[in-house]
């Protein structure tokens, strides 16, 4: 499932490559499933760990957030986590989450729902 390959010929530094679609699924939706990647990443002897996103179609925002947390944790341990073969939608999801981590929005969302009871609701569209 995990393969150790010498793919960085320039630096001659071994990398651990983890194929996300094989380990998890083509759509990575759940936050807790990303935790399954954490153990082999942390245990890896290589300083560089590559998550290969070939055949991964989409990741949720929660999954992207969890991946970035792991990346930061690894960085603090002087290890590097990189994402390869990432499609443009996954790239954008990672960018949105990273931007939110770097510059969190201070404005709180508004919630101004009208209060009513079930018997007052009309069944037709719109609400």
């Amino acid at each position: 499932m995990y393969k150790l390959t010498l793919i960085n010929a320039m630096k001659k530094e071994p990398k651990t490559v983890i194929e996300v679609a094989k380990v998890l699924a083509p759509i990575v939706g759940s936050r807790d499933v990303v935790d399954l990647l954490k153990a082999p990443i942390i245990k890896s002897d290589s300083r560089i760990v590559v998550l290969d996103f070939s055949y991964v179609e989409f990741i949720s925002r929660s999954a992207a957030h969890e991946l970035l947390l792991i990346k930061e944790e690894l960085h603090q341990k002087d290890k590097e986590l990189s994402f390869e073969n990432v499609n443009k939608d996954i790239t954008e999801m990672l960018r949105v989450v990273a931007a939110n981590r770097a510059l969190p929005k201070t404005e709180k969302p508004q919630f101004k729902a009208e209060k009513t009871d079930i018997n007052s609701l009309r069944e037709e569209l719109p609400v």
Binding site: I27, S30, S60, R61, F111, A113, I118, P126
Partner: protein, 286 residues
């Protein structure tokens, strides 16, 4: 065991489905064992069928339906009430009945199996609406499914969740429902943040993005999913917990009290029209 006649659904709108669910389960005591009589139903919809499925799976309740019922064959095809619990069973089911997506039961244990079943479910929903080639639609289908299922296993303290979807080719509508029978929203705030909230106030906290988790970056899943459904896809969205529901359609939001009704856990359902144009979900993720 008390007999409950499940009433005919008057409208397939989300509100119509909510009213049918309300009429079915109002006056039920918490986890009361019930005998559901489904013979009056001439059609079924996810917001009614999936909560009943989860209720049947988590209580000793039973149901009756005659062989002559109009929906008997449909309920068999979608595997009501047991649902599908594995990728291999899901594949077998959809090879046999290509036009229907079966009810899926996701469990906390066996995380990878659950993720693959969720992934397969989402892919089948996307294929069912038949919009390949319209940019961004797959993201809009996958995003709420992923975030809302994540919430079950992050917050409900329950070990299983239920998901079901139905696309109506003639009406060009997609209905999705996601259900858990966990502790519910008010109990989550009470247990994690020591906040005593009504069911309605707990829903309001969720929609304001106030997570039960200490991490400040959490709490966006339901709100951003609602935005993708209602603003990006032009659909309707509801979340039900305890004795309250929020019903949203585009810019209209109604917090609805459900007297003499209590759902133990959380129900989320949404209805979207078949997308006709490219969709960019990212502006709605905040």
């Amino acid at each position: 065991m008390r007999n409950v006649i499940v009433p005919q659904i008057k409208s397939s709108s989300l509100v119509g489905q909510l009213k049918s669910l309300y009429e079915t389960l109002k006056d039920a005591k918490p986890n009361e064992d019930l005998n559901f009589d489904l013979n009056q139903l001439s059609f079924a919809c996810p917001l009614l069928i999936l909560p009943l499925c989860s209720y049947l799976n988590t209580t000793k309740s039973e149901f009756v339906i005659s062989k002559d019922s109009k929906i008997k064959s449909y309920l068999d095809v979608i595997n009501f009430p047991k649902g599908i619990t594995s990728v291999s069973s899901f594949h077998q089911k959809i090879q046999k009945d290509k036009n229907y997506i079966p009810i899926s039961v996701l469990t906390r244990e066996g995380v990878v199996g659950r993720e693959r079943l969720e992934s397969l479910f989402a892919t089948m929903v996307y294929k069912a609406i038949d919009v390949s080639g319209i940019e961004g639609v797959s993201n809009a289908i996958y995003y709420p499914i992923g975030e809302l299922i994540t919430n079950i296993f992050e917050h409900s303290k329950e070990n299983q969740g239920f998901i079901f979807g139905q696309f109506y080719p003639k009406k060009e509508w997609l209905d999705i429902c996601i259900v858990d029978r966990g502790r519910g929203l008010a109990a989550a705030y009470q247990q994690e943040k020591n906040l005593n909230l009504s069911d309605g106030d707990a829903i309001a906290e969720v929609m304001k993005g106030n997570s039960t988790k200490p991490d400040k970056e959490r709490g966006y899943g339901v709100r951003t999913s609602k935005r993708v459904v209602c603003e990006a896809l032009g659909g309707e969205f509801t979340i039900i917990s305890g004795s309250s529901a929020l019903v949203v359609s585009k810019d209209k939001e109604k917090l609805v009290s459900l007297p003499n009704f209590h759902w133990q856990g959380v129900i989320i359902a949404y209805k979207i029209p078949k997308p006709k144009h490219p969709i960019d979900i990212f502006p709605y993720l905040e």
